[in-house]
Symmetry: C2
Subunit: 358 residues, 2 copies
């Protein structure tokens, strides 16, 4: 497709995101209050179940067909020494995902989640490897300290890849989507996006990523400051922010979230990078927020700023900072548990249990 066609499609998808209807929440609450437990004693699990009812508009929502899309891409800004790992690790980790040895593989198996690995912009070619979705927009972004990370048409193509993945998820009957990513250098892009959208300084929202030392962190902050000065991104123009200081996997995830929202597929957002994509998606279309669950709180300092920006309390806080979709996988199991409680618990009347006195 041409860039114009992609742009139109993105625009149409943004416009197609529905609002949730409050009558479905009321129906969900009535059932929750009839189940054999003290009122509201399942805490956040009740809110999750109610939201699934609202999203799916079903008396008995299902979310057991779970899939994580892990999008991989490289970042030109790694030239500036912003990561503790060499760029080659993006490719190496993609191969590790494909052979089942990475953390996300273990957690996906444990949580009953299927996994799709997408090359949306890894620098090197993979050739003929089984199981990889090939959707490379370009071999890594440009170094955004010297100008935009992407052209407009590259951005549109990356967003369209995400929309395509959402369409595939819907067609194949997945009922819960998780986001994941791999890209050496991508906490630098996520920190830059976070600084712009939340109005905070680079120093406030930048962390050690995969393991920078003090000197490395200082350099990373300076690199982000230079990128912001070179591009001067405008928080009122989220697509420009994404194009200027984002990444191909981040743009793909933004497209995925918009695509899922307009198809009423709930999305579990993983950590810092995924939440940067979510922040762009919600800046473009606030209605997307209703379809998102924040999987966990990463120990990257910018993540909390983004979660607050989104008003999305994380489900888990296990001090993880790995990405790949690892936080999403664990949270998807919690969400599935909440929905099973909603569907499977006995009611006070069916179980013959007395209700509260007075």
């Amino acid at each position: 497709m041409t860039s114009t066609a992609n742009y139109t499609r993105i625009f149409d998808s943004i416009a197609a995101v529905p609002s949730l209807a409050p009558e479905w929440r009321a129906r969900a609450m009535a059932r929750l209050n009839s189940l054999t437990k003290p009122l509201e004693s399942l805490g956040r699990l009740e809110e999750i179940a109610a939201r699934l009812v609202e999203i799916l508009e079903e008396e008995h929502p299902q979310c057991s067909r779970k899939i994580i899309f892990t999008l991989a891409a490289d970042h030109g800004v790694t030239e500036e020494g912003v990561s503790a790992y060499p760029k080659a690790v993006t490719r190496q980790m993609v191969l590790n995902f494909l052979s089942g040895g990475a953390a996300i593989n273990v957690l996906s198996r444990h949580c009953g989640v299927e996994m799709v690995i997408v090359d949306i912009g890894v620098e090197s070619e993979f050739g003929d490897v089984a199981g990889l979705v090939k959707a490379k927009v370009r071999p890594g972004t440009r170094n955004f300290t010297r100008g935009p990370a992407m052209t407009e048409s590259e951005l549109h193509l990356a967003l369209a890849v995400g929309l395509d993945l959402a369409a595939i998820a819907k067609k194949k009957g997945y009922t819960l989507v998780g986001t994941g990513e791999m890209g050496i250098g991508n906490t630098t892009a996520a920190s830059a996006i976070t600084a712009v959208l939340t109005g905070r300084s680079a120093a406030e929202v930048t962390g050690r990523g995969a393991g920078l030392d003090d000197q490395g962190l200082k350099n990373k902050i300076a690199v982000i400051e230079r990128a912001l000065a070179a591009n001067n991104p405008d928080p009122a123009k989220p697509l420009d922010v994404l194009r200027q200081v984002g990444g191909l996997e981040i743009a793909g995830l933004t497209g995925l979230m918009i695509g899922c929202a307009c198809r009423r597929i709930p999305v579990v957002v993983d950590g810092f990078i995924s939440t940067a994509a979510a922040a762009v998606a919600c800046a473009l279309q606030p209605k997307v927020r209703s379809f998102l669950f924040a999987g966990h709180k990463s120990s990257e300092p910018g993540h909390l700023a983004l979660l607050n920006f989104l008003g999305a309390p994380p489900l888990l806080d296990l001090e993880m900072r790995l990405g790949e979709g690892t936080g999403a996988a664990l949270a998807m199991s919690i969400i599935e548990a909440a929905v099973k409680l909603f569907n499977e618990m006995a009611t006070f009347s069916s179980a013959g249990v007395s209700e509260a006195v007075g």
Copy 2:
């Protein structure tokens, strides 16, 4: 067994709890640091896996055979109007557990956990019901505003029931034990224990339980104050505290934790009531602490005080306050995930992934 025999057995079990050997932690850390992930990026999951290695003293610990013991008992103090639910609900909920309709049934199925329901002190007789472990010490505790909840021999018998359950878990090959309970009135007992062991006032550590209103909460605090005045429990004598203001299910759980610790079975402690039992176990034998994982933080206000007393950060905080073992079930799945990551992830060298630079 006679009370003296039980007491000897309890005393012997307390003495038999082993200390963890630091060399196993060092071995665990070496493997964790060889796995394909940035150093320490799995956060608390790494600490969990390392502790399992220390507890089991195995290079590849296993914890997939999971069981929750849910102990049910009644409380004489319900005469004082301390619960929003009638006492009959303890029995009704036991029947709900046995027919599979309670929250803990749904979560146990979801998390692959087996469940055992134990009548350690429900007021009424169950007759011939399938699946219930009958270990009733007495039909509910005495009203502890007028004197001790139990006699010494009843306390020893309840502790011995817990020791027996640990022995069964070991014999049947379970590798991870979760605690659960059901007992209308048992937050009152747990709050009383918490006040004594942490040195806080009843008002600080008492909450609404299953759903008291303001007047009910005020009465509950006054009841606990009367119980403490009537029994004058000494925090330096944890068994006396348990006997005076505890409950039969709480004593059973204390015994279960001690029994598991002396057999090197890791235990996932559920919410407020279970943590009160854990606090007594650790007051009796501080080494028990190494074998415990705090499953979640309940929204009952006394729970945080107990977790701090134990120095046990909770794994989950989903604002649940249901008991039954519900928080333990979800946390057991997280612990299993941590151990699978430890065992199943590729290493940098096996996957051909570059390590950090410098």
